[in-house]
Subunit: 302 residues, 4 copies
């Protein structure tokens, strides 16, 4: 497997990227576009790494998976009273569908849905900012994981579309807390910095029926885990869910920081990072790397 | 004419209203639904009044006409670089069209367009809040006109849809100032309180080729005035522009406070107030009263 | 008035057109782009003409006014059970609004609405094709008016969007007759050929409270006529209703054949023809000519 | 496995269905709602059956998988020049997205996409009706499979929405052949009758890397097969792709005739039939039966 990762690393390094780094959050635009890391860990604890796999980066939308999982583990199917489970077919920050569907977001992995999840977490958690961070640290067994206050402030200042989404849903009654508080918490969650290694550790849970791979604690139920994986499979890649399902064939989630994390149930989790995004907002080299991985290993759903 | 107004007053008093008072702004929900006033003034200074025509009420969206006129008089056709001139065909606070048209509102008499107008006024006016109030006082020749701070605060606290609209347009680059400042000014303008008598005085301008009926000052150009009247004709009544054009046949503008003001070019302006709204958000008795007016007088465009 | 028309004619001839002739119906693409005619007739029977004002051309969408008027005169307000009265805010052949509103067209002057009108006429007229032609001939007092079978066949072969609209409404139950029959009749009505002189004669009805200007027969009621004029004012110019209302300020209707006809209630009707269309599908020189007319005469609503 | 199917059969028989049989095609409304069959075949040729698993029924939209596979095997990735690969997020027969995206359907498993596939097949096949039938018979190794002319005629007479879709796409240039011919072929393909046993046989191909399980012929490439499976996973269940992915976790396709067929790659294919549909248009008992199957066997992607 180490050899396969090396081959992927080498193929990526020789491949010229056509996209560009995310610019809509000023702080993210400063990243070095040549960064690349990949980390794969099996449930049996074997792990493989190449490149910048220990360098933390902004996980952005990948945080939506952690937030949904945390909320789901607390309130179970009450989650679906305020957010759907189906792919949206629209860009991740579109308001059109939201208007037609009266403020009910299609799923928790698009911005509108994740804002509702943030709102619900505020009601469920005693100390939301700390509890969320603790949840991730616990999953990754790593207390060095933290928020990035610069990215948080940067997003807060420029996140007009998200402010619009939150207020729009508030006007339909689907945000219960103060909009500014909800958005603060949403932006904070997006600002978490993690390395490929840390993401891979934290996502092993989803490959392991909801059981923490080290403590063996049942953090989510088997059915809840299956639902999370199904959500990632159908909704994890913005407008490119179909493409990712075909090319990679694993449930996963991407973020505009350039990270992608995916799992092969009962086998492994893998995280990859390269900040240059394609036209759909997914990491260009990350998509390629995961495609090469499932091609070379033959591990894929289909 | 006094007799005609009396007949209308009597017809309205005997007519049971089916709609209800606006509730989306808590402060407006407290109004007495039985209020009714009507005031008509000719360019030759003859004036006629019935009912509560000297009682001030919240003009709400009627302020959009004053704001657009003030801006138009300052920057002329540069106005149309950031807002359109066509009817929208959608509810006044819809975001769908705005998304499809990349943050460019259809016209300045719907919420999104008026928010852009507020943004532009911030750049043009030295002291926006005072200058706007002064403009209206000058048009109505009445310095007692003022903002209603309670309504302003009430709207500011509950105007989630408008906050969404403003941030959405900001994300497209069509709001230049700080969103909160723009919205503060927008909500402030909506909170102006005027009576039918004051509205009628202030709107004589539009019946008089842009010339102030008392000072004879040319406040707007002839062509600008024609454009304002055309805008009111096609866009002044939310989803009911066609209905109003047919039933009343005069350019005008309504507000959710229950006011409607209309003009017969070169002849008169007329304001009516009754807080009960029909399903489209226009004053039910106000529509009826103006319909009776044009039927009884035979003064109509068609 | 003759002098005014001559001045307009001369201004138009010296003005270079930027648009192009309609091409979506192959037969219409063959027209000479330099044709220009204008004809104005007062209710007092005075008439003025310049250019190709006696040359018949394809009236296209102007036929929607005749069809609606004929149906309205037969079934009165039952018309509104199956079609609305408000501007659409969307291109004339859009299906989006129709889907959201379950097959109920916004007004009878856009394609979807006119197709429903055609469907209803099939139920009301004994011999639809002849009755409709007879109606127009009667209004214009001219039996030489006829369908253009070449244009009819051309449109029938290439009218995919209209076939889509009709079948879409059928799927919602808002087309009662056989779709092909309805479309045949719709395309046939669009294919009528008339000159500016004939259109002007036929539209005098709408300037005359519904009374035939020669026979003095009451073809439509006063209120029906007012409604027709209001419809033309708000919905007669596709996406350019606001622009036309401002620039010309008269109720009217345009067609992609390059014709525009408008009325000044109680005064006159005027028809203009120039086949080159602007980006919105209205005659470029026709819009200009009518704008000059109301500017030069001072006759306008505002 | 036979015992598992018996248990499912028994659970289904004791479960009261809340939905109803498809009525939009009159011929389908006549079916006995109590029919139920299920057939599962492993690649190793073991097969298990319960209920009406040898009774042919109308496969309807399941035919879209056969049509796409046949076309894909002929023209490879040229397919994607005229149809997309992503979930639509809209009802299967919506025109809204199609208008916004200029006649380019989201994927070949919704009606619009399948109509484009039918159009392309007309260009590629020598004798479309026979070639398509032959393709299915060959996959199922069963020459008794046939079209149902009554259903075909029934759908042809009432398929207004599909006629609208086809003409709409023609207006955008994305239908090349005569619209009526395309629709005839599309309706014909939908009318194929197959039993659970025949569907299960025919779908083994998709569980077997594109290789015919009996003749060992490579009918599709490995990558093409993977793409077909990814398409079924993300787009096979109308608005319920997310739900099916979660509950069943297998790539599959449903039809309004009440059939569902799904595969576990490298293992088996399974077909189930029960004509009562849920609100989303998928077989209610069929969904339940497949959910029970993956729960009881533990065979699922997640």
């Amino acid at each position: 497997m180490q050899q396969i990762l090396e081959e992927i690393f080498s193929a990526i390094k020789n491949h010229e990227l056509k996209g560009s780094v995310a610019t809509y959050i000023p702080e993210l635009a400063k990243i070095d576009p040549n960064k690349f890391g990949m980390y794969l860990k099996f449930l049996n604890k074997e792990a493989y790494a190449v490149g910048d796999s220990f360098v933390p980066f902004s996980i952005q939308s990948i945080s939506k998976v952690f937030a949904t999982a945390l909320l789901f583990s607390k309130i179970d199917d009450d989650l679906w009273l305020r957010v759907g489970k189906e792919p949206s077919g629209n860009p991740f920050n579109s308001l059109v569908q939201l208007e037609n569907e009266k403020g009910f977001p299609r799923n928790p992995l698009i911005n509108s849905g994740a804002i509702v999840v943030a709102d619900m977490l505020l009601d469920v958690l005693g100390d939301p900012a700390n509890d969320f961070l603790h949840f991730i640290r616990h999953l990754a067994s790593d207390d060095s994981i933290d928020y990035d206050k610069t990215v948080y402030m940067s997003e807060k200042k420029s996140g007009f579309r998200n402010i619009a989404l939150a207020n729009f849903m508030k006007s339909f009654g689907n945000i219960h807390n103060d909009v500014d508080e909800v958005l603060d918490f949403y932006f904070l969650m997006c600002s978490v910095r993690m390395s490929c290694q840390q993401l891979s550790e934290a996502f092993l849970l989803f490959a392991n029926h909801g059981v923490h791979p080290i403590t063996l604690e049942a953090i989510m139920g088997v059915s809840q885990t299956k639902r999370m994986n199904a959500l990632m499979q159908t909704c994890g890649f913005y407008d490119e869910a179909g493409e990712f399902t075909f090319k990679v064939g694993l449930p996963g989630k991407s973020g505009v920081g350039g990270g992608i994390v995916a799992i092969l149930p009962k086998k492994y989790s893998v995280a990859v990072w390269s900040p240059v995004l394609n036209a759909k907002g997914n990491s260009e080299a990350g998509m390629k790397a995961l495609e090469l991985l499932t091609t070379k290993t033959g591990f894929s759903i289909f």
